[in-house]
């Protein structure tokens, strides 16, 4: 018991110490004031404040686009945006997460489409409503020039849309704020698919690889592994070649039996 008490005391002390080290700043989550450590991301700050995230939280790594967040700061008129998992809190920010925003998606058979402005505008005819206000670009947490790729779509440059929208995480903030009610990111994913299917050159080395595999390149090593006993498997696993952490770019393994 005494040992446990001691342990708890120590834990409390470290907690307090942490809090002393951490500067707490006020933030407003959907209007309610919370004090949170100033080093936290919006996402962690929400959890720190007691929220349990069941929507609007995915990869926590800035890739999935589930945690689009809008916020304002007291000394500016601007609407700021960020991914909750990537954006560090700022004192006195007012924020709300937009975990989902409705956006219609065209249904199509990619094989039956051509990578042309005509086909894109058949599926998303409303793109011509764009007035070039640029709010989409200002609303993009990935720093994509959304208006520019919409401009490319309007002029039928499918490859241009694919290239410019490549970093899109589909968070939907552009569509949420568009005064022309467009669904930029759904239109863009159509263009990226069109690009991949109809414009990008087919990967020759992939076809080559598939042929090699079909010819049985890995038959023997695979069979050997399947018939090995557990001791051998463990040894093989431990002895396997691993790329060193600080390897040069041109590092290659000595044996490519399994590659």
């Amino acid at each position: 018991m005494a040992a446990q008490r001691k342990k708890k005391k120590r834990a409390d002390a470290t907690g307090k110490k942490l809090e002393q080290q951490q500067k707490l700043v006020p933030i407003f989550i959907m209007g309610q004031r919370h004090l949170v450590p100033d080093s936290l991301t919006i996402q962690k700050a929400m959890e720190y404040a007691g929220y349990q995230l069941v929507r609007g939280c995915g990869c926590r790594g800035g890739i999935c686009g589930a945690c689009g967040t809008v916020f304002r700061l007291p000394d500016s008129y601007r609407v700021e945006v960020g991914l909750a998992c990537q954006t560090v809190v700022k004192p006195n920010m007012y924020l709300a997460q937009i975990p989902f925003f409705p956006a219609n998606k065209a249904v199509y058979d990619i094989e039956k489409l051509s990578p042309t402005g005509a086909d894109v505008s058949k599926l998303y005819p409303e793109i011509f409503k764009c007035v070039g206000c640029n709010v989409c670009t200002k609303s993009c947490p990935m720093d994509i020039d959304v208006m520019e790729y919409m401009a490319r779509a309007i002029r039928g440059d499918v490859a241009g849309v694919a290239e410019l929208s490549f970093d899109c995480v589909m968070c939907g903030l552009c569509a949420a704020r568009c005064p022309a009610e467009l669904v930029q990111y759904n239109m863009a994913v159509l263009c990226r698919r069109l690009y991949a299917r109809h414009i990008a050159p087919r990967a020759q080395h992939l076809a080559e690889r598939v042929r090699e595999i079909e010819k049985g390149k890995y038959e023997r090593p695979l069979r050997a592994l399947k018939s090995a006993d557990i001791k051998d498997l463990k040894r093989l696993y431990k002895e396997r070649e691993i790329e060193p952490e600080m390897a040069e770019e041109d590092w290659t393994p000595e044996s490519n039996d399994y590659l």
């Binding site: 206000c133 720093d143 002029r155 039928g156």
Partner: protein, 306 residues
């Protein structure tokens, strides 16, 4: 001579032959047209409502970015873009409320600057200082039709061409201020510089029906048929124009004319830049004639131009 250039969407898609020929000619004439690094649609149509300021944002930004890049002229080829950009520029110069509001609206375009890798222009105001030039106007005023004439290697001597202006180049006249709105000469003089025979006809400044070809096709069809037949009756081999919309109505839509006007014979329609390219001796196979409904090649063969 180096000039910034705004292509417009249609020239990148449906009438790319207008752009490719115009750019090839510019190169031949030693004019470097440099496409703006970033640009959006100009809006296509100038807003009719005086209070609708939002439609001015896109053309305003285009003009502003020309000035930010340190230029004071902008060349366009499409008549619609020319009309929108020129009128927007004028309203910026003359209407201080619109000027202030548009400048305010675009005063925080910083993410665009960041995306384009530039920081120029932040906080800069646009005052309407850019001069918007149509390609034909650039030939007339910047280069001079004499210089065009001097560069012609294959005069279009036997070709009888009816120049067709349509609306957007000339109207509204006080705002466009390109030429005499009732008796324009720019196309005639341009044709003269290439040695072509100019056919004057009474419908050269009439409207082709414009977007009516989508909402009331029968009206646009009637207007276009009248224009084509008038040119023919006055002895024209072909029509020359500069507007992608007029080209659509007067050329591409000829495919439907035989059905509605018995006895109709297709008539070749040229973009001005295609004729210029011919006269400058560019390869006729590269001028996009395969996209015409009324094939102009037999006519050009007859006149020994291909």
């Amino acid at each position: 001579m180096k000039l910034p250039y705004y292509p417009g969407c249609t020239l990148k898609d449906r009438t790319s032959q207008l752009e490719t020929t115009a750019l090839a000619c510019a190169e031949k004439l030693d004019v470097q047209l440099e496409e703006m690094p970033n640009w959006t649609c100009c809006g296509g149509v100038y807003p009719v409502s005086e209070t609708k300021i939002v439609n001015l944002v896109a053309p305003f930004r285009i003009l502003k970015e020309v000035q930010e890049a340190g230029d004071d002229k902008l060349v366009t080829i499409c008549d619609f873009c020319y009309n929108v950009l020129k009128r927007t520029n004028l309203i910026i110069r003359e209407d201080s409320v619109k000027r202030t509001r548009l400048n305010l609206f675009l005063s925080d375009d910083d993410r665009r600057w960041a995306a384009s890798g530039r920081r120029v222009g932040e906080g800069q105001e646009y005052d309407g200082g850019v001069k918007v030039l149509h390609y034909l106007e650039m030939l007339r005023d910047e280069l001079g039709f004499e210089a065009v004439a001097a560069a012609v290697s294959k005069p279009l001597e036997d070709l009888k061409i009816a120049p067709y202006y349509g609306c957007n180049l000339l109207r509204p006249p006080l705002e466009m201020d390109l030429d005499d709105p009732e008796d324009p000469r720019i196309m005639e003089d341009f044709l003269g510089s290439m040695g072509a025979q100019v056919v004057e006809f009474p419908y050269r400044i009439e409207c082709c029906g414009s977007f009516l070809s989508l909402s009331s096709p029968q009206i646009a069809r009637r207007l276009c048929h009248t224009i084509l037949e008038s040119a023919r009756k006055n002895g024209a081999d072909a029509i020359m124009l500069s507007c992608p919309m007029c080209f659509y109505n007067l050329e591409q839509k000829q495919s439907e004319f035989a059905r509605h006007f018995p006895g109709f014979r297709p008539m070749p329609v040229f973009f001005f830049s295609q004729l210029l390219a011919l006269a400058l001796g560019l390869d006729p196979a590269s001028l996009g004639f395969e996209r015409n409904f009324a094939d102009p090649v037999p006519l050009l063969k007859e006149k020994h131009l291909v």
